[in-house]
Amino acid sequence: MITKEEVKHIAELARLGLSGKEVEKFQEELSSILDYFKKLQKLDVSGTAATSHPSAVKNVMRRDEAEKEPRKILSDFLKVKSILK
């Protein structure tokens, strides 16, 4: 059972505001979900490598060159759209 303090701590880490009622509600729900994860304890994966994604490719790179010629002013500055109005 996850404690109210732990719920508040997680919420703060995740920058989520929670009311008192919400802390209680999520405490109950998160506890039951985390309980479900206990079934993984039965599995021995000590010799197994971790997979972070099923992607077929690694380190996809391209040359560090501009794809389009940017508009330049005074040969050194780049012209961009204004940000502040």
Partner: protein, 471 residues
């Protein structure tokens, strides 16, 4: 009406694109209040696109297959200058500033986009009940859910509001609503379709895919949207990989049926329909073999609900009330802006998953949860690798039940998660899978799932077409 039927009608000049588009827009106007598949209807955009296609046809030009054919897009895929909400209050008024790559590809083909469809908020859910703007109804029974998270997309196709739609699938979100609504839903191999412009949920699991009436239509749309994209470095060029069919005739097709998927709680009608489907394939000459996928049901579910929320917690950090979207008023300081904007703008299921992910990634818990789940992920991939040595495709149910009633599972998050038990392992392994209508439980549609090896969409699409003819 299928894509080819629409295409034939247009080139034979039986109707104009404008007429076709208007008739679908009328259908949407009639049905959307009842079904609520659409969040945004883009009639001006659609009519402007329609006129362009008519001009092309009138000038005697050839048009691509998808030109002039009305489609709907799940509202987590960006279309430039069109509102994109992810069914969340935090993006209620957000206007997208660029086209997703799949949208670019569809626009280049002359597709007619009629609107953005409803989903579970940020694609988190299995019923579309988690939408901040209201639930979509199943066109076959308005008291039931269409499935989720691509419920709007599936309902729009099932009720003829569009010819095809795009959805996204992270744990079953294309396949399960396709099964509930009696339409075809394809989740491509991870990397087959670019995710650029898809609002990210879990970056190692998400894929965009078509929802259509027929398998042939799914092939057409998949062809149009697939391909390597420099903007998505996890995308892969398919070349002839996807054309592969390891068998030219059904006699050479080896179908594996995993024994662990016929679980105790499975609905009797679902089991009957799936077993009948297996018999149909067998009668037609395919070789059926019982296989074992020991980690792919219960362990996969637990691993998924650790891995996915972990990735979600990172992807949701950008919704902070500063960069874009809803910003809370009356906040005291910057931290308060974050806390209040996210509390008010994000729904319960989203916050639940963010917190789960924050917990499982936090110091002291990372090893026992996230790292462990990643190792289970390897075990799941190994299960499939082993199975695919003896089988060309794997046949399973899509969901343990047909469409459930609105409100039935929304009180207990865990019971909703269990609806994904058959679809989830596929995303963890990055495999292609398709849901195809296979029968009815009373009047409710039930689909079967065909899973293929990576980049062998051709195999499952071909087998799917064979099955359609057998039914």
């Amino acid at each position: 009406m299928t894509i080819s039927q629409a295409h034939q009608g247009l080139i034979k000049k039986e109707f104009s694109t404008l007429e076709l588009t208007k008739s679908f827009l009328d259908k949407i106007e009639d049905s959307n209040k009842k079904i609520f598949a659409f969040l945004t209807i883009t009639s001006d955009l659609a009519l402007a696109q329609a006129k362009k296609i008519d001009d092309l046809i009138f000038a005697g030009g050839d048009i691509p297959m998808l030109a002039g054919v009305p489609a709907a897009i799940k509202d987590n895929i960006l279309i430039e200058d069109v509102r994109c909400t992810a069914a969340s209050k935090i993006l209620e008024d957000y206007i997208a500033i660029y086209d997703a790559t799949v949208i670019n590809k569809l626009k280049n083909q002359g597709a007619i986009i009629l609107g953005k469809t409803n989903l579970d908020e940020f694609a988190m859910g299995a019923s579309t009940e988690n939408s901040a703007f209201g639930a979509t109804k199943n066109p076959h029974d308005l008291t039931r859910v269409p499935g989720g998270s691509s419920g709007g997309s599936a309902a729009a196709v099932a009720s003829d509001m569009v010819v095809y739609s795009l959805g996204s699938d992270t744990g079953g979100s294309i396949r399960q609503p396709a099964s509930f609504c009696g339409v075809v839903g394809l989740k491509p191999t991870y990397g087959a379709v670019s995710r650029y412009g898809l609002i990210a949920m879990a970056s190692s699991l998400d894929q965009i895919g078509p929802i259509t009436k027929t398998v042939a239509d799914a092939k057409i749309v998949f062809d149009a949207i697939a391909g390597k994209d420099p903007c998505d470095s996890t995308s892969v060029e398919l070349n002839s990989k996807f054309q592969s069919t390891n068998y030219k005739q059904i006699q050479n097709l080896r179908i594996g049926v995993p024994k662990e998927y016929f679980i105790e709680g499975i609905d009797k009608d679902v089991e009957r329909i799936v077993r009948e489907a297996i018999k149909k394939f067998e009668k037609a000459g395919a070789k059926i073999e019982e296989i074992s996928l020991p980690h792919c049901t219960n362990y996969a579910l637990a691993a998924y609900y650790i891995i996915m929320p972990s990735e979600v917690s990172a992807n949701m950090a950008r919704y902070d009330g500063i960069r874009y979207g809803y910003s809370a008023k009356g906040a005291d300081d910057l931290l308060d802006v974050y806390l209040k904007s996210r509390q008010q703008g994000l729904g319960d299921e989203v916050r639940r998953r963010i917190m789960l992910g924050t917990y499982t990634l936090s110091a002291g818990y990372y090893e026992s949860y996230y790292l462990k789940a990643q190792k289970v992920r390897t075990k799941i991939i190994e299960d499939f690798d082993k199975a695919f040595k003896k089988s060309d495709i794997i046949l399973t149910p899509v969901c343990p039940t047909p469409a459930f009633k609105i409100g039935e599972k929304s009180k207990d998050p865990l019971s909703m998660y269990l609806a994904d038990i058959f679809t989830i392992a596929v995303n963890l392994a990055g495999l292609p899978a398709i849901s195809i209508p296979a029968g009815r439980a009373d009047s409710l549609p039930v689909g079967i799932q065909l899973i293929g090896r990576p980049f062998e969409e051709g195999n499952i699409l071909d087998a799917g077409e064979i099955f359609e003819k057998l039914s």
